[in-house]
């Protein structure tokens, strides 16, 4: 098995696990440093974990509902802990979002469990809740949890903070590392009519541990995450800007939705990220 090794000053470049990754890693064993795999994928299809015989793994997660008001079940947390130990991941990236919520019916105590994370209400109340959740969640793991900024597709009622202010408040309150998803960031800025190039400087960049890069598209008047498309130039511009403030430990390209993602494009973007992080 291969494991991520700490190498101070070097920015590792990896890929999010997807249909093209096993073959790509076999054909290009030296192009990437690690593969990022969601815990949920390892739980449902454990065989994907065999890729760690070839390349180290960083664990990602979307089950902890860090910004939610309904906790995840203990079995799930134990299973995440087991995967963290098995993969020897250096950290666990989790979404600054919720995936479980109370039922809307007062007489129904069964919560609503979604299969994807949702941007929370961005308020002081949620910041406090994240701090409380993170405190109890972190106890389950020997490696740090880091939090990933959500894409904002709509205004969540009751929000009193912008995305940048919310993330900053959480990072300050919780002293937690940041998984800066640059595409989520661009999406949030486009959907709230803010300038990503100026807003990025207001993010707590010194706390960035890992960066995510993926594609986006604009449909039905909204910018959406799209891991089947290559990242647009603005995402690379932002990565260059981030690198002027901080040296993250890892940059992950998330091109994991489509088995048709062109290999030539993948190689080109890995090369582009390498060039940026080595500057």
């Amino acid at each position: 098995m291969k494991y991520v090794t700490a190498n101070s000053g070097t920015v590792a470049v990896g890929l999010a696990f997807g249909p093209i990754v096993p073959e790509f890693v076999r054909a290009n064993p030296d192009l990437i440093d690690y593969v990022e795999i969601p815990f949920e994928q390892l739980r449902h299809t454990p065989e994907v974990g065999t890729i760690q015989e070839t390349v180290p793994v960083i664990l990602h997660c979307a089950s902890m509902s860090v910004a939610g008001f309904v906790p995840p079940d203990q079995r799930t947390l134990k299973a995440i802990g087991r995967e963290a130990e098995r993969t020897k991941t250096p950290w666990i990236g989790e979404h600054l979002a919720f995936i479980i919520a109370d039922s809307i019916e007062d007489d129904d105590d069964k919560p609503t469990s979604l299969t994807y994370t949702v941007c929370p209400q961005m308020s002081d109340e949620t910041v406090e809740r994240v701090a409380s959740n993170l405190g109890s969640l972190q106890e389950h793991f020997d490696v740090p949890l880091i939090l990933e900024n959500s894409p904002q597709y709509f205004e969540v009622p009751g929000s009193s903070l912008s995305m940048v202010d919310f993330v900053s408040a959480v990072v300050k309150r919780c002293k937690v590392g940041l998984l800066l998803d640059l595409t989520h960031f661009v999406i949030s800025m486009l959907n709230t009519k803010k300038d990503p190039l100026s807003e990025i400087d207001r993010m707590p960049l010194e706390q960035v541990v890992e960066v995510h890069v993926s594609g986006l598209n604009v449909q039905s008047g909204v910018a959406w995450d799209d891991h089947a498309l290559p990242a647009p130039p603005i995402v690379f511009d932002l990565l260059e800007r981030v690198m002027k403030h901080v040296r993250p430990k890892a940059v992950t390209l998330e091109y994991n939705w489509s088995p048709q993602f062109p290999e030539s494009m993948l190689v080109k973007h890995i090369d582009r990220v390498h060039k940026i992080v080595r500057c």
Binding site: P19, G68, F69, F98, I100, A101, D102, S103, I104, T112, L114, T115, Y116, V118, P120, Q121, S123, E125, T126, R129, Y153, F154, E155, V156, P157, G158, N217, V218, Q219, S220, V222, W224, D225, D226, A228, L229, W257, S258, P259, Q260
Partner: protein, 248 residues
Amino acid sequence: MIASRVHAIVAAGLENPALLARWQQQPDLLRTYGVDPAEFDLDAIWKFAGLSAKVKHNGLRAELPLTFRFLSVNGLEIEVFGAYASHKARAGTRYAPTTAERIVELVEFLRDWLDFGKRQHSLLWDLIRHETALAQLRQLTPSTKRSRVPHIVGEIVLHEMNSDPRVIGKLLREKSFDSRRVRRRVTRLCYWNGGDPDEISIIELDELGFNLLSLVDGKRSIADFNHLFGSLNDAFAALASVGVISLG
């Protein structure tokens, strides 16, 4: 507004987009949950449900690559999958467990939902049927059962298209796609697995050949056909010469 209540309402709407439609028609229903309906952008939440439905169908991309590319380049993904998520919620059914079943269900939904008067919808309908036929035939090992009357050699799928999906596919592989370059014309196609699932043939047919092939059932003899429709010997001979039928 209490965050946990907001999360509960957003999650309920995402899980069941039919609720979103109900709240849009009767905003006061939301007041019963102690929130102000004006604060909720129900249309945007509905679109997000569409994104989620789209992501849940990523597994279909291997079989329907051109369909997904068409949806993407024409900006139809959110609209189509948003409507599909609502449809499933209204029906109270979950997405099918296998890729093959999900494709069938998606095609069935589109058959009812698409507006064939819209050029892009019509092209999408042709393209998804084209890729579905290829995907289904690739999964089949045809029976080698023979008959003494005209019968299909292997397995076929017949589709009458409003354009040629092979042309749409070719244009989609180019850097930019312009649907106006696709000529609208009735195109009758026979997708044929003659025994090797790795080699699916596509035969373009005229109206007579198409209708005749749709009636070949391994039970009716040439005499039966001739009795019903007049002499079809030449048409049968033409289909037999391609190999898609055997005259028995």
